[in-house]
């Protein structure tokens, strides 16, 4: 009898310990009231938002139940898997091309989840803060400006001394959404660039060396004196790399930060949200920013899907673009600006099941 009491007490004690060790988390309180839904979603696509998505999906499954499995296989892979209908949704950094849309057969909705930006990082003696304009960036990456003390660079960087050394251009060698956003900006602001290089995930680079992935580019920049290259904002911020301010359309030199990237979407956006934000008109917006989207079929009634599944998918998107946005900043992603969220809501409401509204 005594033994049993001791056993029961120790169990109670253990349970108490366990309860205390569980950190109070956002939304956990609600979860005890709402029944957790058992469902598995499969997504695939862009690698850029992968850290954010994993965090969001992890939290979501704790709060609401559905488990989401996201494979970061690249935007191109995400698009083709959605077209082949092997995933519930895709993720992409570049809107789908006409050709891909026609292959899909049915209407596809692009829901923006957050914003990313491409920053220019460099390796100079003592790494002074650097100002760059679109023309200068284009000429450097086209191989027309080859020395750091070129008058075109020094005239926008009064007060800092730039060495008489060769500029070594570093770019991404793997196909990537980062290259897409960067070249999209270059194409908008430089006629020369548009003619000679253009926009895309893999480009024909006139000069420089390529490196694989953000870590590759960062490594190459930090080890090569006189190097300049582009990486994702989150990568530069979390590795404290020097980043250049870029002059935007309003004529201001903008330091890339989460705020200035979010601000770039502070413009009139089209209804379908398929928009390139580079060279934004927003006064305080950083000019090399862009949305990353989740793509899905507007009519969810295809294959063997049922209405419940469609409804849960819409709920997931709603959560990601609302409550889920709080996870953006801690991971250095820029959240969707408040003004744009309403438009995103209208967009999510378009998703239906055989014509039936889901939200």
């Amino acid at each position: 009898m005594k033994k049993k009491i001791i056993l029961a007490l120790s169990f109670a004690f253990l349970a108490l310990l366990f309860a205390c060790s569980q950190k109070p988390q956002q939304g956990v309180q609600d979860s005890s009231l709402v029944e957790l839904i058992e469902m598995d979603f499969l997504g695939a696509g862009a690698t850029f938002p992968f850290p954010l998505y994993s965090k969001m999906f992890d939290e979501y499954s704790r709060i609401r139940g559905p488990k989401v499995n996201y494979n970061a296989i690249g935007s191109g892979g995400g698009i083709s898997q959605l077209i082949e209908k092997t995933v519930d949704f895709g993720g992409t950094d570049a809107p789908m091309k006409e050709e891909e849309l026609s292959k899909a057969g049915a209407e596809i909705i692009h829901v923006p989840i957050c914003l990313g930006a491409v920053v220019l990082s460099y390796n100079l003696p003592d790494n002074p803060p650097l100002n760059l304009t679109a023309e200068v960036i284009a000429q450097i990456f086209l191989g027309e400006i080859t020395k750091w003390n070129d008058p075109k660079i020094t005239e926008i960087n009064a007060g800092i001394s730039l060495p008489n050394t060769e500029i070594i251009v570093v770019h991404r060698s793997d196909g990537s959404g980062t290259t897409y956003i960067f070249s999209d900006y270059m194409t908008k602001v430089s006629r020369d660039w548009a003619q000679k290089v253009g926009t895309g995930k893999s480009l024909e680079w006139p000069v420089g060396i390529g490196a694989n992935g953000n870590p590759g580019v960062a490594g190459q920049i930090s080890s090569t004196p006189g190097a300049i290259g582009y990486t994702e904002l989150i990568y530069a911020l979390s590795n404290s790399m020097p980043v250049a301010s870029v002059r935007n359309k309003a004529g201001k030199f903008i330091v890339p930060t989460i705020e200035s990237v979010s601000a770039s979407a502070d413009v009139n956006l089209p209804k379908d949200m398929i928009v390139s934000l580079t060279d934004t008109e927003a006064e305080d917006g950083y000019p090399i920013s862009g949305f990353t989207w989740i793509i899905l079929y507007r009519d969810q009634n295809y294959g063997e899907r049922d209405e419940k599944r469609a409804k849960e998918l819409v709920n997931l998107l709603w959560w990601m673009t609302h409550e889920g946005q709080v996870y953006c900043e801690e991971l250095h992603y820029a959240p969707i600006p408040q003004k744009a969220v309403e438009q995103v809501e209208d967009l999510i409401k378009l998703v239906n099941f055989g014509g039936k509204e889901l939200i």
Partner: protein, 305 residues
């Protein structure tokens, strides 16, 4: 009965291998077909690689020449660099030291070299070889990229040494002791025995070892990708006579590297052209192997006579 089942199993597994190989080739070929149709011979002779052109208009420029150049230059250069090291290691292990602690240590070190994953070689190349090459480039007035064909060849050379060294060592073992002893009894020095007896006898086997190493260099992807600089065009210095010496220090790219790099984010003709690049790589490897085998057969005869 048991015997028949056993035999049937053997036949079945043989057939499965054949079906697999045929299947791989068939899928590769079918996937490459769109690009074969769209690009024609411009794929083989084109010197520009512009994936963007697939989406822009009628003139698709996806040429394999820069990558052919990169693959062939890095693998032959690395073979050239590795030969003296492979030879001396093999001779040391095969002729000078046949047992003992240092022998066992060196032998297992060479074997260990072949077991290191290539991404580790790439990382090591990036953090050690690249700065050394860069320092050399700064001193000699070549643009200090650090990465490039030379760096890739240096890393590759170290990767392929164990392959040729261990085969050459085996081949040296096959040289009949009587032959060597006969030479020694005539008063030949060790060096003379190696030069005049062992080397001629083992020549074809040595070539086979080098061929294996070359094959490894041709297909190596990860380590090369990390240190070659990934520039998808022919080195600019190739076209001017004054600067041709800079070519081996300029950035480039190889066939396997471009496939690994662009495969993820490619679609349409671009994807198809990458698969065609894979087929071309298989073809190049086969041709080089074929030429090598003919050479081995020829030297084999003269070696025995």
């Amino acid at each position: 009965m048991n015997d028949r089942i056993f035999r049937a199993m053997l036949y079945a597994s043989g057939a499965i291998i054949f079906v697999l190989i045929a299947g791989i080739f068939l899928t590769l070929f079918i996937s490459a077909l769109p690009s074969v149709k769209a690009l024609g011979h411009s794929f083989l002779f084109g010197t520009r690689w512009n994936p963007q052109s697939v989406w822009e208009g009628e003139n698709i420029t996806l040429g394999a020449v820069p990558f052919l150049f990169g693959t062939i230059s890095t693998s032959f250069l690395s073979l050239l660099i590795s030969i003296p090291f492979a030879f001396s290691t093999a001779l040391l292990l095969g002729e000078y030291m046949k047992k003992g602690f240092f022998f066992a240590f060196l032998k297992s070190s060479v074997e260990l070299l072949s077991g290191i994953p290539s991404v580790i070689y790439g990382f090591w190349g990036f953090s050690v070889v690249v700065p050394i090459v860069r320092a050399f480039e700064i001193k000699t007035g070549i643009p200090p990229y650090g990465v490039g064909i030379m760096t890739a060849s240096l890393v590759l050379a170290i990767m392929i040494i164990p392959y040729s060294a261990s085969i050459i060592r085996e081949v040296l073992h096959l040289v009949p002791t009587e032959l060597k002893e006969a030479a020694y009894s005539l008063g030949a020095t060790r060096y003379e025995v190696i030069k005049n007896v062992i080397f001629p006898y083992a020549r074809s086997g040595i070539s086979a070892g080098l061929l294996l190493a070359l094959g490894r260099a041709l297909g190596e992807t990860m380590a090369v990708t990390m240190v070659i600089g990934n520039l998808n065009s022919l080195p600019a210095s190739l076209t001017s006579l004054h600067e041709i010496h800079k070519t081996i220090f300029s950035p480039g790219n190889t066939m396997s590297s471009i496939i690994a790099l662009e495969f993820n984010e490619s679609s349409g003709i671009h994807l198809s052209a990458l698969i065609q690049m894979g087929l071309l790589l298989i073809l190049v490897t086969t041709i080089i192997n074929f030429i090598g085998r003919i050479y081995i057969k020829k030297t084999d005869k003269s070696g025995k006579d």
